[in-house]
């Protein structure tokens, strides 16, 4: 029976025992081994870093409103873009989906009580905090100006900023990433519920498996690279500095061996979210499940073979450039497979345009632009013109923000009712999604044109003829900023005043939707046994989805 608001009063009950009610003391949170509580603490932490990184972005965009170096001195500007990059990449983008949604959902999706190594999970959070605090300390002391890439010999020899402290922060944070990846792989191998075969796993889990492989295989290399940088900077052993027998391009090889696959650490979990959202809101089994699953693994593997495309104009050999260029074209194939399959999933689907789906549709367009412009930059000849211009800045923001951040927002809105048991305002959710999409394009599309016209990145001043497009970009950034701040307000509001979401507000067959919202500490009252295939929306799923639909106060699908 529904009330006047269209909600079933039986959903108004408070869950008897949930992970949120299992202890209220600070100790019960700080010493928890519950993957869901750890995920929430990650969520708050990465949000703090995201908005700090956003403040640097705001300063950069304000500075670029005028051609001169008006707001920030050039040295300060160097620190602003460096610290924006470091906070966003190492402390937001890399942990964002795996550490929050992955941590929260992976055990639920496979029918497990927790991750395989709960103490290691808590340790990874503490390492993240230690690395983050150390980095923030360095920023408060004076910051770092090397660019987030720490290119040598500037970082080892010439920079007077806090390179070592920030490097140590990133070094420690890397172990957090490694431990999370290790935990996910062990969990997926050993903790699946009876009947949860590899090909019944949600694609979100496949994406996290691939991500974890990259985390484990790549992150140690960047840790070693930072260590080598420290050895050269402190002890003056010639590793990267040509003046003392080193080779600066060796740093770039080692750095990008991790940092290009790190792009896939960021985007693969986002792709996992999009697979879930598009299938769910199209009410249709995902098209080409196996292809999407294996394309995640293919991206993880091929992603390790293309790092040299960041180095085409570095002095790297022409032969190496040709090989890396060819392989860059190859890695586009599995990404394209996913985009085609998501589109095919939507074809003739029963699409509903709820907030998560709006974000997911936005992802499709923006990631497509980001991916295709990556092919421009992967072409050896064209990239000579485009390297270190705003074209590159626009490209990676289309992938990182247009792709990953949008996917993260889609995922947060999609699983928020499960995480909190409360429903947010759908109206404000849709407004936010639209503002983010419009603001993002207004910010970054002009930068493609600026870059193609030759405006270099990482300068506080620029010729006057570039000002109009820069004004567009800064105006777009303010719209984007408002769009990104809105979810903080209405999602927080929903915790205190949101309507109860019910256990399965989207009427979905996945295991995480078959337990209460918010879930109990041990996730399920009894061990689930999986007898259905992934993304079954019919009777095969064993759920009366029409009943669930009525319970959630939603119209029937014809």
């Amino acid at each position: 029976m529904q009330n006047a608001d269209g909600f079933n009063p039986s959903l108004m009950r408070e869950p008897k025992d949930s992970y949120l009610t299992n202890g209220y003391s600070l100790k019960s949170w700080l010493l928890t081994k519950d993957h869901k509580r750890i995920a929430l603490m990650y969520l708050i932490s990465i949000s703090v870093f995201f908005f700090m990184g956003g403040l640097y972005a705001a300063a950069i965009r304000l500075e670029l409103l005028t051609p001169g170096s008006d707001l920030l001195q050039t040295a300060t500007y160097n620190k602003a873009f460096t610290q924006h990059g470091i906070l966003m990449i190492f402390f937001f983008l890399i942990p964002s989906i795996p550490a929050t949604l992955g941590n929260f959902l992976l055990p639920l999706m496979i029918g497990a009580k927790d991750l395989a190594l709960p103490r290691i999970n808590l340790l990874s959070l503490y390492l993240y905090w230690i690395g983050g605090i150390l980095t923030l300390y360095a920023l408060m002391q004076g910051g770092v100006d090397t660019g987030w890439t720490f290119y040598t010999p500037y970082s080892t020899t010439f920079s007077n900023s806090y390179v070592m402290a920030v490097g140590l922060g990133i070094f420690i944070n890397g172990f957090s990433s490694i431990l999370t990846g290790l935990n996910f792989i062990v969990t997926i191998h050993t903790m699946r519920a009876p009947g949860m075969t590899w090909f019944r796993l949600p694609l979100f889990v496949w994406a996290h498996y691939a991500t974890s492989l990259v985390m484990i295989l790549g992150t140690p290399v960047v840790a070693i690279t930072i260590l080598l940088l420290a050895i050269e900077r402190v002890v003056k052993v010639g590793i990267f500095d040509p003046a003392i027998g080193g080779d600066p391009i060796l740093f770039q090889h080692l750095f990008w061996f991790y940092s290009h696959p790190a792009v896939y650490i960021m985007i693969l979990p986002g792709m996992g979210v999009i697979s879930e959202v598009i299938s769910s809101f199209s009410r249709k089994k995902i098209f080409g499940y196996e292809f999407i699953a294996f394309s995640s693994i293919a991206i993880a593997v091929f992603g390790f073979l293309v790092w040299g495309h960041h180095m085409f104009v570095s002095g790297q050999s022409i032969y190496a450039g040709l090989v890396f260029s060819f392989l860059t074209m190859v890695v586009a194939v599995p990404s394209a497979i996913k985009v085609f399959n998501w589109t095919a999933t939507m074809y003739k689907g029963s699409i509903s345009y709820d907030t998560p789906m709006l974000y997911a549709i936005g992802f499709l367009g923006l990631f497509l632009v980001g991916g295709l412009t990556g092919l421009f930059l992967g072409s050896v000849g064209l990239t000579v013109h485009l390297t270190d211009t705003y074209f590159v800045v626009a490209h990676f923001h289309y992938v990182m923000v247009g792709g990953q951040v949008i996917a993260y927002l889609a995922g947060i809105h999609f699983w928020w009712p499960k995480m909190t048991g409360k429903m947010y305002s759908e109206f404000w959710g849709k407004v936010s999604a639209m503002l983010v999409f419009v603001g993002f394009n207004l910010t970054f599309f002009p930068q493609f044109i600026l870059g193609y016209q030759g405006m270099p990145r990482r300068y506080a001043s620029y010729p006057a003829e570039f000002q109009v497009l820069n004004i567009f970009s800064t105006a777009g950034a303010s719209v984007l900023g408002v769009g990104l701040l809105m979810p903080v307000v209405y999602l927080t509001h929903s915790i205190f005043a949101g309507k109860p979401a019910g256990d399965n507000p989207w009427m979905l067959p996945g295991l995480e939707w078959r337990t209460q919202s918010p879930p109990p500490t041990l996730n399920f009252d009894e061990q689930p046994v999986v007898t259905w295939e992934a993304y079954e929306f019919g009777e095969e799923s064993g759920l009366d989805l029409e009943e669930a639909r009525r319970a959630a106060g939603r119209p029937s699908v014809v």
């Binding site: 295989l217 290399v221 040509p242 003046a243 060796l250 080692l254 790297q316 050999s317 090989v323």
Partner: protein, 107 residues
């Protein structure tokens, strides 16, 4: 009942001490051969020998200290995969160095 990892006794304290001795001896040999001019035999011979000793030390650490020798096939696969990735890193970096125009960044 399936055989578990802990059912093995591994190599015991004497065995671990023997592995430790191998590591110490390996370190000492690395130090000693660093003073030999093996590069006169062929360029890079000193580095090659040092790496060979390091590889041997790493292998005994993995096999005995990390118990890979008694582990399941999946752990062996993981160990081999990590070496394959290391090979990728070396091979793709070296394809640059072996084909680079001589003189670039030479000091």
């Amino acid at each position: 009942m399936a055989e578990t990892h802990s059912d093995h006794e591994h190599i015991g304290i004497p065995g671990y001490l023997a592995v430790f001795a191998i590591l110490i001896v390996g370190t000492w040999i690395t130090y000693v051969v660093a003073f030999w001019d093996l590069d006169s035999v062929f360029p890079g011979a000193n580095t090659l020998l040092a790496l060979a000793i390091a590889f041997t030390k790493m292998t005994v650490v993995m096999l005995y200290f990390m118990h890979v020798r008694w582990s399941k096939e999946l752990v062996w696969l993981s160990a081999v995969a990590s070496f394959f990735w290391l090979l990728i890193m070396f091979a793709f970096t070296m394809q640059d160095y072996f084909t680079r125009v001589s003189g670039v960044f030479s000091s």
